[in-house]
């Protein structure tokens, strides 16, 4: 209840944004444990100064207190003006970790010894000097499939003296995509040339009909390069095959009827990975989305993203 109210208050006070500049509205500041110890020492010195009627010890005590007050300003300043921008994201599988980039931007002055962490996650330290930008990648455990919003980002600093802790809870508007966790399955849920295809062992490309050679163009799959010819000094060439009708596999969601949704996606994910590893072309059909046949890393990425975003209402 209290936690919810706190979250609610936070959301109103510090709404999500793609870029956040820390200012007095967003920075909280409190003494650290060491700060309290420091004040205790100052108080002890005060009593010492009173009892020994020693004005200089009193002066030392007052100087320490003055330093504490100045430290409040400096600790605050170390966070104030820092700009955080949502950066890139690296997707991952459910149960694993993805990571999101937070770009720290220091306009005019440096921001030192900043500790960044998603709430309930380990922290990472970073410093940016004035006029610099720095991307920090923070890992995020992926607990469920889909586009995950990270929890609030806690930015904390105790610099310069460690007497005070200034922090802010920043809600950056960024998402990390969690792909389904691949689940192994013998049967390929595909429809293509021959139905109910088994997993084809690697190298079966050879069964396709050889058409000729052409020069290598960046982007061509390395598995199709004519390495033998290259060894004979004929340069880098790519073997061209007639695409057999059976080569284009259509991975289909509806072929997995009867299984729960997540499991279907997991199986599809497994096959996307497997076919990509074998560098075989495939297509993917989900309810409401279709991915045209292709192969390679980009196809794999698109297919996985499609699986991750399945069922999402935008």
């Amino acid at each position: 209840m209290v936690r919810d109210a706190w979250q609610c208050w936070l959301d109103r006070r510090l709404p999500r944004a793609r870029q956040v500049r820390l200012d007095q509205r967003r920075i909280f500041i409190l003494p650290t444990g060491y700060g309290y110890l420091y004040l205790l020492v100052a108080v002890l010195l005060f009593f010492g100064g009173i009892n020994y009627e020693n004005n200089l010890i009193l002066g030392l005590c007052f100087l320490m207190i003055g330093l504490f007050v100045v430290a409040i300003l400096h600790t605050y300043r170390n966070l104030s003006g820092l700009i955080l921008r949502a950066g890139g994201g690296r997707s991952g599988f459910v149960g694993g970790q993805g990571s999101l980039e937070v770009v720290l931007i220091a306009r005019r002055r440096g921001h030192r010894a900043l500790w960044l962490r998603w709430l309930d996650q380990p922290a990472q330290e970073a410093s940016v000097e004035g006029g610099e930008e720095l991307g920090v990648w923070l890992n995020l455990p992926l607990s469920r499939r889909g586009a995950l919003r990270p929890p609030r980002l806690r930015v904390e600093s105790r610099y310069p003296l460690g007497l005070l802790r200034a922090w802010s809870l920043v809600a950056l508007d960024q998402v990390c995509l969690a792909w389904p966790r691949p689940q192994e399955s013998r049967d390929c849920p595909a429809r293509g040339g021959d139905r109910e295809r088994r997993a084809a062992p690697t190298g079966q490309n050879g069964s396709e009909e050889f058409r000729g050679l052409r020069g290598y163009v960046p982007g061509d799959a390395l598995t199709q390069v004519d390495w033998k010819g290259f060894a004979r000094g004929r340069g880098l060439n790519v073997k061209l095959f007639e695409e057999p009708a059976s080569g284009r596999l259509w991975l289909r969601y509806d072929l997995l009827e009867g299984l729960p949704l997540e499991q279907r996606l997991s199986i599809l994910c497994y096959w996307v990975l497997r076919l990509s590893d074998e560098n075989r072309p495939f297509a993917l059909t989900l309810p409401g989305a279709t991915l045209a046949p292709a192969r390679g890393g980009e196809q794999r990425q698109r297919a996985l993203d499609l699986l991750a975003r399945h069922g999402e209402v935008d």
Binding site: Y52, N54, N55, A113, R158, L163
Partner: protein, 673 residues
């Protein structure tokens, strides 16, 4: 769990330096074993940092700790008390450095460092000591800044910069707290014996004793008068009276059967008759002043006759002098109001009168005979005193700091044989003669004179003096036989008197008096600083605070102090915040931007609201629409602005800025036309 050394390498230098700096005074003052201990720790630590050695295990650390405690016990015979405590905490400070691993250890180490800083101030209170401690605090702060900056690329030097800036900014706040935070009385009494033996007056006077003091230029006390100071010849700082003479030595004494209660009034309880008598006569002109005494390890204080104070921790003695409740072990400041006329209220009762006339049963027969002769010739006491002074003046007496030693009947030998002596010889023999003639008299010891420095007087040990007081017409009258022999001594002070004589005799006295003028000037200046330091910093106690706050705030009430404290702290913090956080504002506007803003604001005042993102051309168009007559002037301005802003790089020189400003004013004039 493996503990990782968490203090970044760029912070270690500052930490080590902070440890050395804060421990240094104790290494000099404290027991001998402190230096080897610190060297051991520093060396061990240096080897550990170079991975040549492991940090000591628990057993070794415990052994070192026990050894430190034992060494402290050995050196002081106890573990409490300031000296032992300081030695112990400095030792612990060093040992803590040996077990420094994590950030937490570093924090503990630095906290110990603050305590060590405080112990420095227990024993050293000069301005330089304070500055030194501020330096130590900067080093400790730099260490903190380094510890909290985990980045390995950080440079060590920037920590010192950060620390220095922060301490500098903290100073005004500290000053406000220092002035305004109410001083309270000690919660429990701490006696701190600084143990420094000082030269000074002693409670007895035998020949040669005062002259020894004159070799010392050490400061005895300083005086600051509220108004003009009395003439040098009137500055007789009374400290002690000697009323008992055993033939060679004068001593303090009380009439038989009297206790301290009869001779001292502390201001508590009903005032005794003699005090009320003095009070009743305390009218007429008075001197108001403040004395700051150096530690003397004695209870008596110095003041002009007849001193009145608020009797807080001081007492007035029946022989018209001030006595502290406890020996003066540290610098002591007190305010005095001296009323010369109050002497008329003094009494001299039977037992006391008898004491003031007492002499040894025999000895010094020639002096007694001389006194009896005078008594026969001058029945009037005053005439008799004058005759005695005339005797000193007319007979070939010499004032010298190096009188020949005399033994046996010291008074006779001096008066009739050697006739060379110092103030104590004159005072002693004069008082003897008076008593022998039946006039109550006593020797007074104290200081005479004082050199002005700035707005205060310095009274040094070589100003030590002894003179007599005789009871004439119902009051004590000061008689200084030395003045009859060497008037210079009284008018100009000892130093000047000696210098004159040395010029005459071409016989340099040397010692404390023959100093180089430049050095002397420097020393005077240093003393001036020291005096104000004593007065405003060390001597800023409850009373001084009350006085100052009364002047500042009108009345001293808790609410006013609280409000003033809050207000001042907030004000200074606000100013500091402006200073510290100001840099987050954008870079200052450049000249062209300022010029643009000025025109924009001027047009705004004429009622032309321009969009936020207006450009020079947009501004021109808006002006032309609103004031068609000004179209030409606006275009004129716009072209020149664009020329300066976009056709060239760098800020335009002053002449061109002025030109642009002229065109702006021309445009504004065109609006009116």
């Amino acid at each position: 769990m493996a503990r990782i050394y968490q203090v970044p390498s760029h912070a270690r230098g500052w930490l080590t330096l902070a440890i050395i700096a804060t421990s240094l005074p104790q290494l000099v003052d404290g027991p001998w074993w402190q230096s080897p201990l610190l060297l051991l720790v520093l060396g061990w630590r240096a080897l550990v940092d170079r991975q040549r050695l492991l940090l000591p295990g628990r057993v070794v650390r415990l052994a070192l700790l026990l050894a430190t405690v034992a060494a402290t016990w050995q050196s002081f015979g106890r573990l409490h008390g300031p000296e032992a405590g300081t030695a112990l905490i400095t030792g612990l400070f060093a040992l803590k450095y040996l077990e420094l691993v994590g950030k937490r250890d570093a924090y503990v180490l630095i906290v110990l460092g603050y305590f060590v800083c405080a112990t420095i101030l227990l024993f050293h209170q000069g301005p330089l000591a304070a500055l030194y401690v501020v330096g130590c605090l900067v080093l400790l702060t730099a260490s903190l800044a380094g510890i909290n900056y985990g980045d390995t690329h950080a440079r060590g030097r920037q920590h010192l910069g950060v620390a220095a800036v922060m301490v500098l900014q903290a100073l005004p706040l500290a000053a406000i707290l220092f002035v305004l935070v109410p001083r309270v009385a000690p919660l429990w009494n701490m006696h701190l014996d600084s143990g420094q033996a000082r030269t000074g007056m002693s409670d007895s006077m035998s020949p040669g004793q005062v002259s020894r003091l004159t070799e010392s230029a050490e400061l005895a006390f300083r005086v600051q008068f509220d108004g003009p100071a009395p003439a040098p010849s009137q500055r007789y700082w009374r400290g002690l009276t000697y009323s008992y003479f055993d033939g060679t030595t004068w001593r303090q004494a009380r009439p038989p059967g009297w206790g301290e209660r009869d001779t001292l009034y502390h201001g508590r309880g009903p005032a005794p008759d003699w005090y009320r008598g003095l009070r009743a006569a305390a009218g007429g002109p008075a001197w108001e002043y403040r004395v700051i005494m150096e530690p003397s390890q004695q209870r008596w204080l110095y003041a002009l006759a007849v001193p009145f104070t608020d009797l807080d921790g001081l007492a007035l003695a029946r022989d018209l002098r001030l006595v502290a409740d406890a020996p003066v072990t540290g610098t002591l400041g007190y305010r005095v109001r001296s009323v010369p006329a109050a002497g008329a209220g003094a009494t001299l009762d039977g037992a006391e009168r008898a004491l003031m006339l007492s002499l040894p049963e025999q000895g010094n027969e020639r002096a007694r005979a001389l006194a009896a002769d005078w008594r026969r010739r001058y029945p009037n006491d005053r005439a008799l005193v004058n005759a005695a002074l005339g005797y000193f003046r007319e007979q070939p007496f010499f004032y010298t700091l190096e009188p020949p030693p005399v033994t046996g009947d010291t008074v006779d030998r001096f008066l009739f044989d050697t006739r060379r002596g110092f103030c104590e010889h004159y005072a002693s023999s004069f008082t003897f003669l008076m008593r022998a003639a039946g006039v109550p008299a006593r020797v007074v010891a104290g200081y005479q004179g004082g050199e002005p420095n700035g707005d205060y007087l310095q009274v040094r040990q070589y100003d030590a003096h002894a003179w007599s007081e005789v009871w004439l017409a119902g009051r004590w009258v000061r008689v200084d036989p030395t003045g009859a022999v060497a008037p210079d001594r009284i008018e100009l002070g000892l130093r000047q008197a000696m210098r004159n004589r040395s010029a005459d005799q071409a016989d340099g006295e040397g010692g404390a008096f023959g100093r180089l003028p430049v050095l002397f000037r420097l020393q005077q200046w240093a003393d001036y600083v020291d005096f104000n330091w004593q007065k405003w910093v060390l001597g800023y106690r409850q009373e001084e605070q009350r006085d100052l706050l009364e002047r500042l705030l009108g009345a001293v009430t808790p609410t006013r102090i609280a409000l003033a404290l809050l207000g001042a702290v907030l004000l200074v913090t606000g100013l500091l915040a402006l200073l510290v956080l100001n840099r987050r504002r954008d870079q200052p506007a450049r000249p062209l931007e300022r010029e643009f803003r000025r025109l924009r604001q001027a047009l705004g005042r004429r009622g032309l609201a321009l969009p936020e993102a207006v450009s020079a051309a947009g501004l021109e168009a808006a002006v032309a629409r609103r004031w068609p007559a000004a179209t030409g002037a606006a275009g004129h301005w716009r072209r020149y602005f664009e020329h300066l802003a976009y056709r060239r790089d760098g800020d335009p020189p002053r002449s061109e800025r002025l030109q642009l400003a002229r065109r702006r004013r021309a445009l504004m004039r065109a609006l009116r036309g």
